[in-house]
């Protein structure tokens, strides 16, 4: 159904009792042109772009649990495009532009809110690095503003500006960045993809690949039977190594746990998204009023979807260093998600060495903001068998070629990205 002010008014007049399911919970057919493994934001966005941009509508999205039950429902909902390296800069701006039109494109309210993303700096060297990053962004047509301390004192008077060790000197602001409602993003893509004929199949775990005599992937074995496919795309960040191993592949990826936190709801305090530059702490405030914050990954391989106390302590210390009054707020919830940490901190969107299998993986802890862009470029790859121009550097063989995209310059140590 089409959502509008009129559909809302009609539903209100009938006591909101006549809303129909917004997408179809499908049963698997024998065969599809394209099967996407993973019913998160990326998988569903890919299916929608396949159907809407590339005219491929005989598509299934297979989800082990329920759609959006993985990292799409576990992130801190931040969208931004403040990247500095060729490859990332263009791709994330493509994604940012798609965020700006998504709700109209999908006819679904994803609560995209461009409330600004502000990275604080605490030293002269960090200011220079941020100035350089901001210039890189502006050269590429992305908005960025370098703010000094006086501007920040007006905007965020409660920050610990005069902290002896980490004084807040200023920040780099991307006003077009912000947040979006993560569950609504998943449901929005499901709503729009389903309307174009995409089958969304839940409780359908992939247990293996079927291959022909030449080794080409011809379909998947699942907990709901065998499903044939012209092409199979995997969008299962967190479990990429696990799924790729079923096709005999090893990836340059480790799975790590990243924790996130929500405080009790308070009155409006944090106007946008804010990051502490002297530690690792970032925070925004949800529309319900809770402070949503996080920091580093725990640092050890994990598939457990829960973390440990040292990182929780470190994150809260970062929060206290930046906003001392945050100590008065009680922590309400805490959880963990499993990140595909790639060896250079950047994603992989490429054909795999196995014919018929396509990889969308390695999103580290930055997958949410990439959702629409990832869907478009992965659909492009699946439909045309060649990389979208904004994803041309996200190749699987870049590690072998020495063409890493390492924003933090940490080298092949995934827990440092």
């Amino acid at each position: 159904m089409k959502y509008s002010i009129f559909s809302l008014a009609r539903a209100a007049l009938s006591g909101h009792k006549n809303w129909k399911p917004t997408w179809r919970d499908a049963a698997p057919k024998d065969r599809y042109d394209v099967v996407i493994i993973g019913g998160g934001g990326h998988g569903l966005a890919t299916a929608w772009f396949l159907a809407s941009e590339f005219g491929i509508r005989n598509v299934a999205v297979l989800e082990k649990g329920w759609i959006g039950s993985g990292n799409a429902g576990r992130n801190t909902t931040i969208i931004r495009s403040n990247y500095g390296l060729p490859g990332n800069t263009g791709f994330y701006e493509l994604s940012m532009k798609l965020w700006e039109t998504m709700e109209q494109d999908l006819n679904y309210n994803a609560m995209v809110s461009q409330r600004g993303v502000l990275n604080l700096y605490h030293s002269d060297a960090q200011r220079d690095a941020f100035a350089r990053r901001g210039n890189t962004m502006r050269i590429n047509g992305i908005d960025a503003e370098l703010l000094d301390q006086a501007a920040l004192r007006k905007m965020l008077p409660f920050l610990n500006f005069d902290n002896a060790r980490f004084p807040v000197q200023g920040g780099l602001l991307q006003r077009r960045g912000g947040t979006a409602r993560h569950d609504a993003v998943v449901w929005g893509y499901a709503h729009a993809a389903s309307a174009l004929g995409v089958d969304i199949i839940q409780n359908c775990e992939v247990t293996g690949f079927t291959r022909d005599a030449n080794g080409k992937v011809t379909g998947v074995e699942t907990s709901r039977g065998r499903i044939g496919a012209g092409k199979v795309g995997m969008a299962v960040a967190g479990s990429s190594s696990h799924v790729a191993a079923m096709a005999g592949l090893r990836l340059p990826i480790e799975s790590h746990v990243l924790q996130a936190f929500v405080s009790e709801a308070i009155k409006p305090l944090i106007p946008g998204v804010m990051t502490f530059g002297a530690g690792h702490f970032y925070v925004s405030q949800s529309d319900k009023g809770g402070l949503v914050f996080g920091g580093d990954i725990d640092g050890y391989n994990s598939y457990a979807q829960r973390g440990n106390l040292p990182v929780m302590e470190d994150v809260c210390e970062g929060g206290m260093a930046l906003i001392p009054m945050i100590g008065r707020v009680r922590l309400l919830r805490q959880w963990g998600g499993i990140m595909d940490m790639s060896m250079d901190g950047s994603p992989i969107i490429d054909k795999s060495p196995v014919d018929g299998l396509y990889i969308n993986a390695g999103w580290c802890y930055g997958g949410f903001k990439a959702t629409p862009g990832s869907g478009l470029v992965f659909a492009h790859l699946l439909a045309r068998d060649e990389s979208h121009k904004e994803a041309a550097r996200f190749r699987l063989d870049r590690f072998q070629r020495g063409a890493m995209i390492d924003e933090k310059g940490q080298g092949a140590q995934p827990n440092l990205h």
């Binding site: 190594s241 090893r250 050890y300 598939y303 440990n308 106390l309 590690f399 072998q400």
Partner: protein, 91 residues
């Protein structure tokens, strides 16, 4: 998660730093590019029991080899990594 260090006893996680999977072995100097690529970049990334290196920087500063389940964080064995520290406890 706590780790029972063979030198220091049971200690909290914050004292330790993680290196990663203990399985990759540095190839010989003349092993060729593919072997080096495999060693530096490719990982089994197992969902289950793996053997891995941890460094006890907040204690004895020894390298440890820990057997841990990545699905549950349950640690089943901790032993000193090969080297000078291992010799001290006869491992």
């Amino acid at each position: 998660m706590r780790i029972i260090c063979p030198f220091c006893g049971e200690r909290e996680l914050g004292e330790f730093t993680y290196l990663g999977d203990a399985k990759p072995q540095r190839p010989a100097a003349d092993a060729g590019e593919d072997a080096v690529y495999d060693y530096v970049y490719l990982r089994d990334n197992i969902a289950g029991v793996i053997s891995e290196y941890w460094y006890h920087g907040g204690g004895c500063r020894a390298w440890l080899k820990v057997t841990r389940n990545t699905l549950t964080h349950e640690i089943s064995a901790v032993e000193p990594a090969a080297g000078a520290g291992a010799a001290k406890v006869g491992a």
